[in-house]
């Protein structure tokens, strides 16, 4: 579009929200996409054989999907100008409890559904606690979910300590993972359909649903409105507190989906699954153009942000970088991405 004066924000860009994906593609998210393509191309050249192998690409796709689903989850909260730091713990706890349900169910097919239901229900409970305290007691989301980060992870260890697998070992002292996940579950969660890994397919479904909810439902519209101006939204006759409450519920319940995928990935209900994922998820959202001030952000942006996070992690592995410097490099990527975004914004504003 013709912008005569680059110092002035165009009304279209200013209004960039999920309904405007095509226009968005031409602006903010295009930069993220180009960065992804460059990273992809570089790795394809540097480590062609390993990077372009079906195995690695499937692995990359899965990693991106875990990050993206968590990023989409937290998008619901960030849009209202809140944040959920407990998402990694929530994913871990949901996965652990879900794994217990899978193992406890005799029929492995039924176990898939029982496990999913129990996992997601656990997410709903965690989200309800977060949401109730943030929305009704009016405590800052940062501190509530920071506390929940600890509570969730601690809960896994407490449960694990007293957990006794059916028809298995006698009571013991140290917490252990939920073992004995049926192969059926692992095959489904780690399987491929037409060569596409199941986590990627799950992401596609979650993304489409989330996009529709954010763009075409009253709930979604109100999330953005609250992030834009909470007081004006309330005065317009909207139960702002309930909308915020459900944002946290949706967030944690969506995290449970990643938690259940982790159960398949590790073939167990792991004690440490999801550890530190809040970093990846929130970074994905912010790299994808979500404003932590609320009121803006899109599902497509989050997915692109997750692609960056995923390919950087994968590339560093392939380049043989040990895990400690890897963490530092990923941290640096986040800061650089934030700087680039601010500079871009400054040029536009």
């Amino acid at each position: 579009m013709a912008t005569a004066d680059p110092s002035v924000p165009s009304p279209l860009l200013e209004n960039a929200r999920p309904g405007f994906h095509m226009r968005l593609l031409r602006s903010r998210e295009s930069g993220v996409f180009i960065a992804f393509v460059i990273l992809f191309g570089t790795l394809a050249i540097l480590r062609n054989r390993t990077f372009m192998s079906t195995e690695n690409l499937a692995n990359l796709g899965s990693t991106i999907s875990y990050f993206a689903i968590l990023g989409i989850a937290v998008l619901f909260v960030i849009v209202t100008s809140g944040v959920d730091l407990s998402l990694g713990s929530a994913a871990g706890l949901c996965g652990y409890v879900g794994a217990m349900a899978i193992v406890a169910t005799p029929n492995p097919i039924a176990g898939i559904f029982v496990g999913l239901a129990v996992g997601i229900l656990t997410g709903v409970v965690i989200g309800a606690i977060n949401g109730a305290i943030v929305a009704f007691v009016n405590v800052t989301s940062f501190i509530v979910t920071l506390g929940m980060l600890g509570i969730g992870r601690g809960a896994i260890y407490i449960i694990a300590k007293y957990y006794v697998a059916p028809h298995a070992s006698p009571p013991r002292d140290s917490p252990i993972a939920v073992l004995g996940i049926p192969q059926t579950y692992v095959d489904v969660a780690q399987g491929r359909v037409l060569g596409i890994p199941v986590p990627v397919l799950v992401l596609v479904v979650v993304a489409l649903l989330a996009h529709c909810v954010l763009t075409y439902t009253v709930f979604g519209r109100r999330l953005y409105a609250i992030g834009g101006n909470e007081e004006a939204t309330k005065l317009s006759g909207i139960h702002v507190n309930w909308v915020k409450f459900f944002a946290y519920v949706v967030c944690s319940a969506t995290c449970a989906i990643t938690g259940m995928l982790y159960v398949g990935r590790y073939s167990q209900g792991s004690l440490v699954a999801g550890n530190g994922d809040e970093l990846n998820a929130i970074a994905a959202a912010v790299i994808g153009g979500t404003s932590l001030m609320g009121g803006s952000g899109s599902v497509l942006g989050v997915i692109l942000g997750a692609c960056i996070m995923g390919i950087v992690a994968n590339g560093l592995d392939l380049l043989g970088i040990p895990s400690e410097p890897k963490l530092a490099i990923i941290g640096a990527v986040i800061v650089v991405a934030a700087i680039v975004d601010v500079v871009r914004n400054r040029r536009r504003a």
Binding site: L12, N15, Y224, N229, L235
Partner: protein, 505 residues
């Protein structure tokens, strides 16, 4: 004509020549000329959206891309930034203050140019001393240790003025609607200060919509309309009607013809013994179908607080609200909307609009349940239809439904706020300072809209601090003082004197 009229020997302090500016291809200023002489108060007049702010932002170095030439003290110059403009002696007091409420007066005053002691730490005693010096020069008493958030609007504005005057080399002070947030005595003080500055050789660009102030305070008036010069006149040679016709390009009948309808006897809203925080005490009144009730009073008399109690934004501690004779329980704005009570707030940016959303999304904020399709999803067609309906009904000037609301002028923003409340098909509509910060033309339009609403049977409560407006628009006038109703006067018996007496007693 004015430039010729003045002595040619006087070099203008500022000459803006042939200034043009466009945003995203939309032309905002076209070949505008604007000249200021030393020791002169010039009014920059024009409706909202006429281009006044853009012109002043170019001058203050906020916008650096434009066509045309600026001469400062006879020399061509281009301000590269706001610092650049300030260094040349141009100070600006924006309509909205840029103060940090959590910092002290002195800290705000010296923000960015803090005084340091020999250890490189902030020298608070010296800053305090210099602040007091500055304020005494401005003839005001402000405790420089107070936090800004503890101050009322008038002293906050004085801090802004002190900041704009900066180190003392300021030769041109731009003031954008400085009197809008002030009350009587505060305005008088501001005017005295302006005259004082003028006598010291400072020129002032005074932007105001209050024509009596313009006539009283300024030497010359330069008028813009639709981004072009539409007139220039010595203040002593003109009148209010003259100014209005310059602004709107025609002799506007400012007193819109009285509406045809009359209030009925049917009571729609009855408030009985209402009390609640922070200071509303035992307020009772009725509003009839088709009636416009004006609610007058001084700043802080509790008018906005009363409105917020009625719509459930605050919890009442006592009293009942009856709609059509039936008691209703309103505990949240949700209940107010459900009962078709609308509230156009006094501060549209803070309480009325979602600034980063579009005209369409703002219009439908109150009626989300009514714009759904059969699947329960938001229907673009229904949303667009509602938006278009009110855009044409209220004659809102927008580029498109998708335009971000923050890019509209004040008058058009206000129309969108009114639209979102008309969308609930209100039985009762409370308008809180509905014409604050909007220009004469839009003001007349808003008055017309209010009259039309009453004619259509809406019970209207209009809160306004401008007594002429209340007298002009309302059928009946309530006056509040310190949280209580002190008068209930039919318009025929009301005058500014009567209302003022009730407002202060």
């Amino acid at each position: 004509m004015t430039a010729d009229a003045l002595s040619p020997s006087v070099t203008p302090l500022l000459e803006m020549q042939d200034i043009s500016k466009s945003f995203s291809g939309v032309s905002v200023l076209r070949h505008v000329n604007f000249t200021v002489y030393p020791s002169e108060i010039v009014c920059l007049l024009g409706e909202n959206g006429a281009g006044k702010s853009t012109l002043m932002k170019i001058l203050a170095g906020v916008h650096t891309e434009y066509q045309g030439q600026i001469k400062w003290d006879g020399e061509a110059i281009k301000f590269g930034s706001t610092y650049d403009a300030a260094a040349h002696g141009i100070g600006i007091v924006f309509q909205e203050f840029n103060l940090c409420p959590n910092l002290s007066v002195a800290e705000n005053l010296f923000l960015g140019r803090e005084i340091r002691n020999k250890f490189g730490l902030i020298d608070y005693p010296e800053m305090r001393r210099r602040a007091q010096q500055t304020f005494s020069r401005l003839g005001v008493v402000i405790d420089s240790d107070m936090l800004v958030r503890q101050l009322t609007v008038a002293p906050q504005q004085m801090i802004e003025i002190a900041k704009a005057l900066g180190g003392g080399n300021t030769r041109l002070l731009i003031m954008d609607e400085p009197t809008a947030p002030l009350a009587g005595a505060e305005i008088e003080h501001l005017f005295a200060l302006m005259n004082e500055l003028k006598s010291r050789g400072v020129s002032i660009v005074f932007i105001s919509h209050k024509l009596n102030e313009v006539l009283r305070m300024t030497d010359r008036v330069i008028c813009l309309k639709d981004g072009e010069n539409s007139g220039e006149v010595f203040t002593k040679d003109t009148s209010e009607d003259g100014l209005v016709s310059m602004m709107v390009g025609r002799e506007l009948d400012r007193l819109y013809s009285r509406r045809s309808g009359h209030a009925t006897d049917e009571v729609v809203l009855e408030v009985k013994n209402l009390s609640g925080p922070p200071r509303i005490h035992d307020v009772s009144f009725q509003v009839r179908r088709g009636e416009i009730v004006g609610l007058a009073g001084l700043q802080g008399a509790g008018r906005t607080e009363l409105a917020r109690l009625i719509i459930g934004a605050e919890k009442k501690t006592a009293g009942t609200i009856l709609l059509h004779g039936q008691p209703v329980n309103i505990r949240h704005p949700v209940d107010a909307v459900r009962n078709h009570i609308g509230y156009v707030s006094e501060d549209r940016k803070k309480f009325g609009l979602i600034l980063n959303m579009s005209v369409r999304e703002n219009t439908t904020m109150t009626i989300h349940r009514q714009i759904l399709n059969r699947l329960g999803l938001i229907s673009a067609a229904k949303e667009n239809a509602v938006t278009d309906l009110y855009v044409s009904k209220l004659k809102t000037k927008i580029a498109s439904r998708e335009q971000a609301i923050k890019n509209l002028s004040g008058g058009n923003q206000q129309k969108v706020v009114i639209a979102k409340w008309l969308a609930i098909k209100p039985d009762v509509l409370i308008l809180d300072e509905p014409t604050r910060g909007i220009d004469v033309g839009a003001k007349a339009e808003v008055h017309k809209i209010i009259a039309d609403l009453a004619d259509a049977g809406v019970a209207v409560i209009m809160i306004s601090s401008e007594l002429p407006e209340v007298l002009h628009v309302a059928d009946r006038i309530l006056v509040m003082h310190e949280g209580r109703l002190t008068a209930d006067i039919p318009r025929e018996q009301a005058s500014e004197e009567v209302l003022m007496k009730a407002a202060v007693a």
